[in-house]
């Protein structure tokens, strides 16, 4: 791999605010690693494997409790995987698994730790990123406590509409990029329960489900139910 350029490095959100002088030590230690579909990049509870940022492809972030696994998020290009170990020197707080072939930027653990704690703009970016994720986690936890499955399903559809939806004459079109299991896991429920909720929304004329797409027909009702 040839050393990444400053322009390429600045496309990584964690590094956007670093000056050229700060980016040089990063470029020296940055590597690329490729993973194939379903391959684990690191596992929850394991010692810090290093700093990983997605270059291309997608990665599933998973947590387990008592032998059951749950999908926390699917992250894509530019997003980091697990920054928490760099803040408390603890183990990985989650597992990361490739979703399809994926290429990651990688910095070995100690080198990443030294860079983060000796480069103030990088430390600030890490603290901001973890802080933003903390806010998301607080919302996620209370959604799971307060909202029923249908409300959580509606919220996922609304979130997808914002990031990936395309407005057409009959509503917002969402490509079905998640498997049923992935969708259910994000909603914090079993596959059959999530599917029943989606079918109920279809029966009420709020969504239309097709093999490769879901159309959001009634955004107003969907929002009210979320």
């Amino acid at each position: 791999m040839s050393a990444p350029t400053t322009k390429e490095l600045k496309t990584i959100p964690l590094l956007t605010l670093l000056r050229a002088a700060d980016l040089k030590p990063v470029a020296r230690v940055l590597q690329e690693r490729a993973f194939s579909n379903r391959q684990y990049i690191f596992r929850e509870g394991g010692a810090c494997a290093g700093l990983y940022v997605v270059k291309t492809g997608q990665v599933k972030l998973i947590q387990a409790r008592h032998n059951k696994e749950r999908l926390l998020a699917i992250v894509g290009a530019g997003e980091s995987l697990d920054l928490v170990p760099f803040l408390d020197n603890g183990p990985h707080s989650l597992s990361a698994q490739a979703r399809g072939p994926v290429t990651l930027y990688y910095i070995e653990c100690k080198a990443a730790h030294d860079l983060i704690w000796n480069t103030p703009p990088l430390l600030a970016a890490v603290l901001h990123t973890v802080s933003a994720r903390l806010r998301t986690l607080a919302t996620l936890a209370s959604d799971l406590a307060f909202k029923d499955v249908t409300a959580r399903v509606c919220k996922i559809l609304l979130d997808q509409a914002q990031t990936e939806g395309t407005r057409q004459h009959d509503g917002i079109h969402l490509r079905r990029t998640l498997s049923q299991q992935e969708f259910a896991s994000l909603a914090g429920t079993a596959r059959e329960v999530a599917w029943r909720s989606l079918k109920k929304l279809e029966d009420e004329g709020i969504v239309r489900i097709e093999r490769k797409q879901i159309t959001l027909l009634d955004m107003e009702r969907l929002t009210a139910m979320a």
Binding site: L134, R135, L137, S142
Partner: protein, 229 residues
Amino acid sequence: MMTVTIEDLRAIFLFAKFQDSELATIREMIAARAYPARTIIFSQGDPSPGLWFVQRGRVRLYRVAPSGREFTLCLARPDSLPCVGACPLFDGDHCPATAQALEDSTVFFIDRERALASAANHTAVARLFGQVLANHSRLLMRLSTSLALHCTTPRLIDLLLTYADERGRATARGIELDLDVDQQLLASVLGATPQMVAHDFLKLERAGVIDARGKHIVILRMERLKSMI
């Protein structure tokens, strides 16, 4: 005005490994405040003025649904997860939860602007904030996963096992422990209603794995209880 000593700071587990000189820097930013039981320290949606570290007592961090139902995110204490107000520290956005003193509490407050300025100049302060964020992240990840994967009964069992680990006493009957929360608060911690929690306690008693008298719990069959998760 209350005086804050370095020993006071060391009583909070997050500060335990800091050097005296580092704690001296942090101490200069702190204002100690006393909150009687049930006082609201800050409310969900308020702008956030800073960070609070629980030095004595307990503070409950909770979110309120539009229906009025409450969900407890955590109980902050000096020996475990002592800090509240961490979320808005860096994004300056509103407080995502309400903090209330559960009992008479002493809390160390650090103003947000001073905290950020100090973190930029002192690695020890930045390290402290990093620890706080990491602490909360791990807790909330576990909490959301537990809520997603399990209904109330396994979550109640999980909580009883945690209490057993932290404060259980081995006796002839089994592992005895005393809950430090009432049923209303317990339900809030589990993301359930008091009726659901009462039903789950009854279920566990009927299974012969616990004996519950108010807040006093005896775990009669530990291995059987663990297998029910």
